[in-house]
């Protein structure tokens, strides 16, 4: 006869289960195939327009991808991107002399000429009563005169037997204004 205590799963089961879920969601949020003709990762440093290059798939600003919680709506902003010796990505949102916001990402360069920012991962683990998993990660690469930020994300959540989830995989392109922070002045004059 099975005793009452034996019917409960031990704690290590739930730890193991959380790890398995973690791996599942990591498998969901995958980057797409890298396009041909992208430039070396050293081209990434520079000043970019905050507005995306025109495309029919939505117009996320560069800063809204870098900082999801940001609610800055001002036009004609620029983003300066540079890397330090620890390979951290520093991004500054500015207009003329005013700095609106800044953010630092830890990440890594890989041999495919892309910069992979550290992933943003959250889990609510009360499986199966209430659970949720969310992962968002960003990849940066550059073309001749622009930078592409690719977002790969997955969200899964549910309670009891009801579960929903979706996978994000999109990319936005931003025009490169120049390599130095002051290069935005040339871009502003030419507009």
């Amino acid at each position: 006869m099975i005793s009452h205590n034996q019917r409960h799963f031990p704690i290590y089961f739930w730890v193991l289960f959380s790890f398995i879920l973690n791996f599942i969601i990591q498998g969901c949020a995958n980057y797409a195939e890298i396009p041909e003709g992208i430039k070396n990762s050293s081209y990434l440093e520079g000043v970019y327009s905050n507005e995306p290059i025109l495309n029919p798939f939505g117009n996320n600003t560069l800063w809204s991808l870098l900082d999801e919680k940001s609610d800055i709506k001002e036009d004609s902003l620029f983003v300066y991107i540079r890397f330090d010796k620890q390979r951290r990505l520093h991004a500054e949102l500015f207009k003329e002399d005013s700095l609106f916001a800044s953010k630092t990402f830890s990440g890594r360069f890989q041999s495919d000429s892309c910069y992979y920012a550290g992933r943003d991962f959250a889990i609510i683990p009360f499986f199966p009563i209430f659970y949720a998993l969310r992962e968002h990660k960003l990849r940066f690469y550059s073309y001749d005169h622009s930078m592409v930020i690719e977002l790969a994300g997955a969200t899964i959540g549910g309670y009891i037997l009801f579960a929903v989830g979706y996978i994000d995989n999109d990319a936005w392109e931003y025009k490169k204004v120049g390599n130095k922070k002051t290069d935005y002045l040339k871009f502003t004059d030419s507009r």
Partner: protein
């Protein structure tokens, strides 16, 4: 805990069973429509239920494609509302042994019309004539639809219902494509939304027509813009990598002309790839 779960299920069920909801093309909930007994009942009900915008657009359409287009979008809803597909293979409503439109189905069965698509086609053909004040005889309409669609119906063998549906869909698609093909000209800007399976990317392809093959309904398109949601510069079609400026021969069916909008009866508004149309206007102007 059980109580909370039951409460959630109860609330979800209540929301799903709302009788007062109705789709944008209707003036009232389809659940309130009574079961029709004759074709004339169906016509009268549609005339009452459909919104003014839907009827007005339907009335102004070309007779050749009017009923096909409306059936493709909202036709299926009336098949379900009236339970017209009871005898054509896909029907079956719970434990009920007969359709609520039993009288109508039996009357049409006698004259040899069983497939729900044919019944709906007869109804919409008659409605079109009624709205345009063209005199019509239901018996003649029944005969016309029978003559046109009977060769498409497969009556024997497993899966005959699905094969009939595929035949009907292909036949009606060819009519719509032929109709749209007549308006094409060399130099027209055309585009399509294309999903590339290899890289799982969505593309909006835009091009200019270089030549038209009227026999095969094919067009030679010189691409002028390739826009991908993953910012690819090339697109793979039939194992060929295309970049902006390349030419490709395609069937016209899935391509749309710039500024060509189809009326979506589901939402009572014109829309075909609106994101692409907006993008073209911003990029190339009018």
């Amino acid at each position: 805990m059980n109580l909370i779960i039951l409460l959630i299920l109860f609330v979800a069920n209540e929301n799903g069973n709302r009788d007062d909801w109705f789709p944008p093309y209707c003036k009232m909930s389809p659940k309130k429509i009574a079961a029709p007994k004759t074709i004339q009942d169906c016509i009268t009900q549609l005339d009452t239920v459909l919104t003014v915008e839907v009827k007005e657009h339907f009335r102004k359409q070309n007779e050749q494609i009017a009923s096909i287009e409306i059936m493709k979008t909202i036709g299926e809803d009336f098949v379900i509302t009236w339970q017209l597909d009871f005898y054509s293979g896909s029907g079956g409503y719970g434990f009920s042994s007969k359709s609520k439109s039993e009288d109508l189905l039996n009357a049409l069965k006698i004259v040899g019309v069983k497939h729900h698509h044919l019944i709906l086609k007869i109804v919409f053909n008659c409605l079109y004539k009624k709205l345009n004040e063209i005199p019509f005889d239901i018996n003649i309409e029944v005969q016309n639809v029978k003559n046109e669609y009977d060769p498409l119906l497969v009556r024997e063998g497993l899966g005959n219902f699905y094969q009939s549906d595929l035949n009907i869909e292909a036949f009606e698609d060819s009519i719509i494509t032929s109709f749209r093909f007549k308006d094409l000209g060399i130099g027209d800007t055309v585009g399509t939304c294309y999903h590339e399976k290899v890289r799982n990317s969505l593309f909006y392809l835009t091009g200019v027509i270089d030549s038209i093959n009227y026999v095969d309904q094919k067009i030679l398109v010189r691409t002028i813009d390739i826009s991908s949601n993953l910012r690819y510069r090339n697109v793979l079609i039939n194992k060929r990598s295309l970049v902006s400026g390349d030419t490709i021969t395609v069937r016209f069916g899935d391509w749309y002309k710039k500024n060509e909008y189809e009326f979506d009866y589901n939402y009572s508004k014109k829309q075909v790839m609106p994101e692409w149309q907006r993008y073209l206007k911003q990029k190339f102007g009018n």
